[in-house]
Every structure is written in structure tokens, then in C-alpha cells.
């Protein structure tokens, strides 16, 4: 659920490190480097990239719209083409029958069958449009924190990979209880030692 939705879903990340100069330009550069590419009419079945917060289907990072106050708001877009199995099966059957008729044979070899299947999937992938999924991202640069508005495992994994590819030199760390305690609570060294030596409490009778 996105930032402006009625209900929201948030995964938090800590960003370790910072840009030496002009963070807005560095962020723009990173976003442009991994901007989502159109895979309509392509044999590619998936694309992952950054997109604009306000215009997720016409991304543009040349204007200043991704900067909101001291934050950067943009989107993670995952475009995926899913071909229904039954359609693949149908098209493979049609193509196989055609091949048999043309070659005047009763059977196709294993290689021919897989070659036909591969060809069918390729043709269908080019023909069908991808289904886009957009997840809002807000980078609170001064707070060294990024929020991804999703808790879907696949979206989180794609986000982490893409962020690391886009902004080399920065380290993205997911904030779960231990990392939150270790990185954001300003614990002393001795408290940090006590924390790392904790073991589960026993509340049983």
C-alpha cells in the first residue's frame, strides 16, 4: 500500500554512508542509471527499475519532482509478463501439429518439441504486455533512512538489489529489531555487548 493510500505498509532501511557532494544530483544520477525500461514488444519477460513517484508510467528524473523538502520520493517498478500455462500448451499443440503436417511424420523428437516450446514462449512474450507493479519509496536523506512501501519479499529483494546497483558507496541495511537496536539507539559499547549476548527469555511455567 503506497504512501498516499488509505492504509500503508512500510519496510524501513538504514543508509550507511553519504554522498560527498550535491546529494540531489547524485540521487538523480543513480535513479537515471537504473530507470525502468519499456519491455513492450520485447522478448524480455521482466524489467525492474526506478520510476517517478507522480508519473510511474512516464518516468522522468530530469525535473525536480523527485525532491520533496529534504526527502526524495520515487518508485520501484517491477514489470512482469506472465503467460498462462494453458495458452502455452495450446500454442505448442498447434505449432507441433503444423510441424508434423509439414514434415509428413508421426512424431517429433525431444529436441524439436523443446525448440517449438521455446519459440512459442518467445513469440508470446513479445506479444503480451507486461503487468506493472509500483511501490513507493521515500528516502529521508538527512535521517539516513529509506522507506519502501511494501513488505512483499520479492519487492524487498528487488529493491535492495536495485538500490545497491544504483548508489554504489552507500550501504543499505534493513532495519529489523537487532539492526534497529544496534544502529539507531546510540548504545554504548558495553550495552552493545550486552545486547549481542542476549538469549531468549523463558516465560514458561
Amino acid at each position: 500500500m503506497g504512501l498516499l493510500s488509505a492504509t500503508q505498509t512500510i519496510t524501513r532501511y538504514r543508509v550507511e554512508g553519504s554522498f560527498s557532494e550535491n546529494p540531489t544530483e547524485q540521487v538523480r544520477k543513480g535513479l537515471k542509471k537504473q530507470i525502468i525500461t519499456d519491455i513492450d514488444n520485447e522478448a524480455q519477460d521482466m524489467a525492474v527499475g526506478w520510476t517517478s513517484f507522480e508519473a510511474p508510467f512516464t518516468p522522468d528524473f530530469d525535473d525536480a519532482s523527485f525532491q520533496i523538502g529534504t526527502h526524495y520520493a520515487f518508485g520501484l517498478r517491477i514489470d512482469k509478463k506472465s503467460i498462462p500455462t494453458k495458452v502455452v500448451k495450446q500454442q505448442v499443440a498447434i505449432a507441433s501439429a503444423k510441424r508434423l503436417a509439414e514434415s509428413d511424420r508421426e512424431f517429433l523428437s525431444k529436441n524439436e518439441k523443446s525448440e517449438i516450446k521455446e519459440h512459442v514462449i518467445n513469440v508470446l512474450t513479445i506479444r503480451i504486455p507486461p503487468v506493472p507493479n509500483v511501490f513507493d519509496v521515500v528516502w529521508q536523506y538527512e535521517e539516513q533512512e529509506v522507506w519502501l512501501f511494501s513488505t512483499q519479499k520479492a519487492a524487498n529483494e528487488e529493491f535492495e538489489t536495485l538500490f545497491n546497483k544504483s548508489f554504489s558507496g552507500l550501504k543499505l541495511i534493513r532495519l529489523f529489531p537487532y539492526t534497529q537496536a544496534d544502529l539507531t539507539l546510540s548504545l554504548s559499547d558495553s550495552d552493545r555487548d550486552r545486547l549481542s549476548n542476549l538469549s531468549p527469555e523463558d516465560f514458561t511455567e
Binding site: M1, L3, L4, A6, T7, Q8, T9, I10, T11, R12, F53, E54, I68, G69, H71, A73, V138, Q140, W147, T151, I173, R174, L175, F176, P177, Y178, T179, Q180, A181, D182, T184, L185, L187, D191, R194, L195, L198, P200, E201, D202, F203, T204, E205
Partner: protein, 175 residues
């Protein structure tokens, strides 16, 4: 720091103990839960609690209690048998404003977060203001959870935990 995945699994209990302690505190000593300014937090358990216990290596037993005014005693029995709270829905109030959200113990994911209502965005010019408003309202919950968790961690690594908190929690569980 150890590998992130190792840390995630090794200290999974930390967030679950936090939620269990939070439930105990809300039921028994709500005024002890303080926000960053030291003001008691107006918070209540919402309509869903999930508890889990790992019996053997990969066998997880789970108890879900849901519904408004649900009887939570089954959850207390589950904790007595070794379970911890893994997910809890919460209601939070500050002044006239109210938030509801669900917090997951193992990763602190916040889901189903409903902030106080903001005006609908009717034109592009209003987007920036709406983003700032929504972020501010969502931050209230994120910061509050951060403060409560900080207080929990300080307690958890102190002697008070084993000397006072655990015995008090056990009394609550067996009352």
C-alpha cells in the same frame, strides 16, 4: 557486524519479546509506556494478536486471536507454554488524532497503517503537501515504535529485566 541474515535469525526473539512485553505493559502498567517526551502513551491492543511457538526444528504452532473485544486469555495460555507474540495490531491516540497499525515482531514491518485522515489530492500541485503530511503522520508511529523499542532494549539489557520484569510478567501469566 555479523552477516545480516545470521543476525536476523539469531535475534528474531528480540522483536517478539518486545511485542510480548508491550502487550503485558498495555494490560498491566500502561502508564509506564512513555513517548520520546516522557509522556505516557495512549495505546491499546487492537483486534488481532498472533502468537507462535517453535516446537521442534521446523514445527511452528500458531495461535491467532482476532475480533473486537476478543478474549485474549488463550494468548496468555500460549505464552505460558512457550509462545511469544509475533504480530500485534495496535491503536494509538495523540490528542484528537488516532492511528491503527499492525507490527510484526521478527522484522518490525508495519502493515495496515491507518493514519488520521488527510485531504484528498485533487491536483498535481497538492501532491508535495500531501506527501509531507502523510510522511509526518506515518513518522509518528515509526518514531513511537522506535522510542518504545529503545526503552525495551534498555530494560532488556539491564538487571531489572530478570529481577523485576520477568517475575512480574510470570505473575500476570499465571494470575
Amino acid at each position: 557486524m555479523l552477516d545480516i541474515a545470521v543476525l536476523y535469525n539469531k535475534y528474531k526473539f528480540l522483536g517478539q519479546e518486545f511485542l510480548t512485553w508491550l502487550w503485558y505493559s498495555l494490560e498491566n502498567e500502561p502508564k509506564s509506556l512513555l513517548d520520546a517526551e516522557g509522556v505516557p502513551v495512549l495505546m491499546a491492543v487492537g483486534n488481532r494478536i498472533v502468537l507462535e511457538v517453535i516446537r521442534e526444528e521446523s514445527t511452528v504452532e500458531s495461535v491467532t486471536i482476532k475480533g473486537d473485544n476478543a478474549d485474549l486469555s488463550e494468548g496468555i495460555v500460549a505464552i505460558r507454554k512457550g509462545a511469544l507474540v509475533t504480530e500485534i495490531s495496535l491503536e494509538y491516540k495523540k490528542g484528537d488524532l488516532g492511528w491503527t497499525f499492525t507490527l510484526k515482531g521478527e522484522n518490525f514491518n508495519i502493515t495496515a497503517l491507518k493514519t488520521p485522515e488527510t485531504p484528498p489530492v485533487e491536483s498535481k500541485d497538492e501532491t508535495e503537501g500531501a506527501v509531507i503530511d502523510k510522511l509526518f503522520l506515518a513518522s509518528e508511529v515509526v518514531n513511537l515504535v522506535g522510542t518504545l523499542f529503545r526503552n525495551f532494549v534498555r530494560l532488556r539489557i539491564s538487571e531489572t529485566w530478570s529481577k523485576k520484569t520477568v517475575p512480574a510478567m510470570k505473575r500476570w501469566l499465571t494470575a
